[in-house]
């Protein structure tokens, strides 16, 4: 049989009889399941394409024997590993081979997801009703009444009833074929062989997950002879786990991933949209601001503080500055507080947090009360005077300008542009960046919604106007 290695080099370094015999106990069902799988791989001519995932359990050393690509998985995760392989090489033929502890206990989530995703992998599930490798403990599939190392008085209902995995998997849309077979006589063995072959052949059709549960003998932990074990499977297990095809549908289509694209022109298309054009590379801030300026935008969710902050950040970077924007939201993600720190620096923003801002834009009274006192001398506060009706206490050296942002926005028929009104005011009051760059970034931001552009430009202009008026009119 060419799908088994000529010599099992990985089994005790292939020395002596171990070089051509398995590590399984006499009469163990794994040997037969291996044999039928190897035959199926051979029959279908897919040896080179096959990747077998070895589980944790008695079949952990499956890779000793199968001359195919091999990956050994952690306990229960073989279907996840299988998905990783299939996504990497959709043409590979993936066999996820698992025992009952592996698949029906620790790995439940993984097998369910594999079935749900409908990834065409072939699962060979060997159910021998017991944990073999760890020494005969209770499995999810142990029959009621059956004694194991961890159910010494026999399984009772406090340990739950046995899990019928094939029926469960069959109920999931992404599974196209599910059958339960056994190994205890010639007839069942022929059926088992045919089922494994079919499950593998179905994978080549790329429709969905194919699943074969093999009721299997573990003479060692049944403490029976191989022949008695066969009888036990026939008489005890089959009654709980009825044999037969549980699902065989002609539908299903797996959208196999295309080969990945590494074309640099495509990459430019895909990420180029994030690029912002930089106008000049030796920009200067207004002299009174020095080399660095911190701005804080504060309001409640929906005030547009984050958008305003982002626009200033982009505008600054357009101008050739370094700039950062950090959002911070209140505990409630909707309607809670929403603050944004923006820092603009000639060379490099060293410390992006803004605890003492040069400029504060406050959209509501709590924000003004919270951050107003921390504005640096020589700084500017712009507050929405249509929301904050009480004129804040005047501080020396802080230019405090009320702009009815919400009112103006409402007048323009678009309440959400109040942050753009505030930006217009900010620009006119501080000249931190030229007006043109603000208009540029607003245009960029609205690239996909050009209809909104006039109203935003108008909002910006009106905000700036308010500041100009405030300057000329005596307060």
């Amino acid at each position: 049989m060419s799908v088994f290695y000529e010599r099992f080099e990985r089994h005790a370094h292939g020395e002596g009889v171990k070089g051509r015999s398995t590590h399984y106990c006499a009469g163990c069902g794994h040997g037969l399941a291996h044999k039928y799988l190897a035959e199926a791989i051979d029959d279908l001519g897919v040896q080179d394409r096959t990747i077998a995932i070895s589980p944790v359990g008695c079949a952990v050393f499956l890779y000793y024997y199968f001359d195919v690509g091999n990956t050994q998985a952690s306990h229960g995760r073989a279907p996840a590993v299988a998905i990783g392989h299939k996504m990497a090489n959709p043409d590979s033929v993936i066999v996820s081979y698992q025992g009952d502890g592996d698949l029906a206990a620790i790995g439940l989530a993984e097998i369910i997801q594999a079935a749900q995703l409908g990834v065409p992998i072939t699962v060979v599930f060997v159910n021998n009703a017991v944990y073999g490798m760890t020494g005969g403990q209770l499995a999810p599939t142990t029959p009621l009444g059956h004694a194991t190392a961890t159910s010494p008085a026999g399984r009772d209902l406090s340990m739950g009833a046995p899990l019928k995995m094939t029926e469960m998997i069959a109920a999931i849309d992404g599974c196209v074929y599910a059958e339960r077979v056994a190994l205890f006589d010639n007839k069942e063995r022929i059926t088992a062989k045919r089922a494994i072959r079919k499950a593998l052949a179905l994978q080549l059709e790329n429709r969905g997950l194919s699943f074969v549960e093999v009721l299997s003998e573990c003479p060692t932990h049944l403490k029976m002879s191989p022949r008695e074990s066969q009888r036990w499977v026939r008489e005890t297990m089959v009654r709980i786990f009825p044999l037969g095809v549980k699902k065989d549908v002609k539908s299903g289509r797996w959208p196999a991933p295309p080969p990945p694209n590494f074309d640099s022109a495509r990459m430019v298309e895909v990420i180029g949209g994030f690029a912002d054009h930089v106008e000049s590379r030796d920009a200067k801030l207004p002299s009174e601001l020095g080399d660095e300026v911190g701005l804080k935008f504060a309001g409640s969710g929906g005030d547009g503080a984050q958008t305003a902050a982002m626009l200033v950040t982009r505008a600054a970077i357009h101008e050739g500055f370094d700039a950062t924007h950090i959002p911070s939201y209140g505990p409630e993600s909707r309607g809670g507080t929403s603050y944004a720190d923006v820092r603009i620096a000639v060379d490099e923003v060293l410390s992006p947090a803004v605890t003492a801002p040069n400029v504060l834009v406050a959209f509501n009274a709590p924000s003004l009360a919270k951050f107003g006192p921390h504005v640096l001398p020589g700084g500017t506060i712009i507050y929405d005077s249509s929301v904050i009706t009480e004129r804040p206490q005047q501080r020396d050296e802080v230019n405090c300008i009320g702009v009815p942002c919400a009112e103006i926005a409402a007048g323009l028929g678009k309440a959400v542009v109040k942050n753009i009104v505030a930006l217009g005011a900010l620009q006119a009051a501080t000249r931190v960046l030229p007006e043109k760059v603000f208009i540029d970034v607003i245009r960029l931001a609205l690239k996909s919604k050009p209809k909104l552009l006039p109203i935003n430009e108008e909002a910006f202009r009106r905000g700036a106007e308010m500041v100009a008026n405030a300057r000329t009119s005596p307060s």
Partner: protein, 463 residues
Amino acid sequence: MAKKSLKAKPLLSPQYCKACGLCVEACAQGCLVMGEAIHPETGLRPVVLDIERCTACGLCISACPEPYALAPLPVEGETEIPAPPPKAALTTPDTRLPLAIEDPLVIRGTYASAIGALLAGCRNFFGYPITPSTEGAELMALLLPKLDGVFVQAVSELATINMMYGCGGAGRRAMTFTSSPGMSLMLEGLSYMIGAEIPGVVVDVMRGGPGLGNIAPEQSDIKLVCRSLGHGNTHGIVLAPSTPQEMLDLTFDAFELSFRYRIPAVVLCDGYLGQMTGRVVLPKTMVRPGVPGWAVTGDREHRRNLMCSIELSERDLEEHNRRLIEKYKRIEKSEQRADLFHCDDAEVILVACNTPARMAKGAVRELRQRGAKVGLFRPLTLWPFPIQALEPVVARARRIVVVEASDGQLEDELRLALSHAGMRLPARIESLRHYGGVLPQLHEIVDVVLPDALSAGASRGRA
């Protein structure tokens, strides 16, 4: 493949027979009987075959669990010539392709990291949503289809890391974004990846702990990723960016390092940095990855490859550990990275990484303006810790102040590195620590450093 006759008489190789008796049961002709004689090599009593009455039904062969105990008897003229074993695959190298985007991107940290991964040739993302890392995953979900890549939302972080195990084992550049609780869940899988030498990149956007903690920035996982990347003698390369630019650069580098050494790499950042938007300049090239010779890809050349972390014999596993440790040593020697800011003449050295390092950088500038000789030592690799660059700096310094958003997790790395390097600990290692999502602020750093920094300088001036 030569066609085998379906019906064949059996050939018994008694040395491989386990005396299970299944073939005896299977043969209706009674050709097989349980043996009496003990086989000298196995100590078992193999069955005895009398081929006289055999009808070549093949049922005994189908009933035998052993691959080589009962095999079809070769029929004359039909002997199958076994195909020669496949030749081992060669590694096809990565290619660098020119990338023509001059203008900087204005993006948040998680986005920068995602784009860094794309440029490094990552086309496979696996992940489970967790705040504050999810925005990176969301960008991957948006962009990967445009690059014919694959985005899979897994059922958990356990499934995620095991999908990466499979995909990385296939030689592909796979990644995930996660945050602290998710990192805890991935440790088992990372240990398997390290054991099986499977590359892959995990971006951990750290948040407040323990337990569910909160979603604010803490440097809560430094110890986890530097000292305990799962069970066993494990290490992974840990990179610690501080800016959106570094999120891109170090994620890109993480793939390069991860594949160069066949070891997982962690890009360790914090929630603040993940959300921070800044200017990000793109590299001049992007990577089209080759296929590593060791990968399990589902083709003939790679058929003999194995991804595996189990070694049953103690000797073999010790040998395997020795090879891994050897590799860790090579990485420790060659891959240390740090950024030094005003360290040349510094009497006080701040040590910080991630966002606290930015606060610390601002503090250094302010302290310098006030006449204090302060510098910032910023590890870019937390494992390996950049002790080579630190040694001369520490030798000159009088004080070290570790600024971190964790309970001394960074300081422990520093102390371990100093002690492994055989250096005497500096006279004073001080700390400024915050937890639970509170970050050390610039003015606090100044307050901690300033008093003694000035008086000591002044008194020395007088002496």
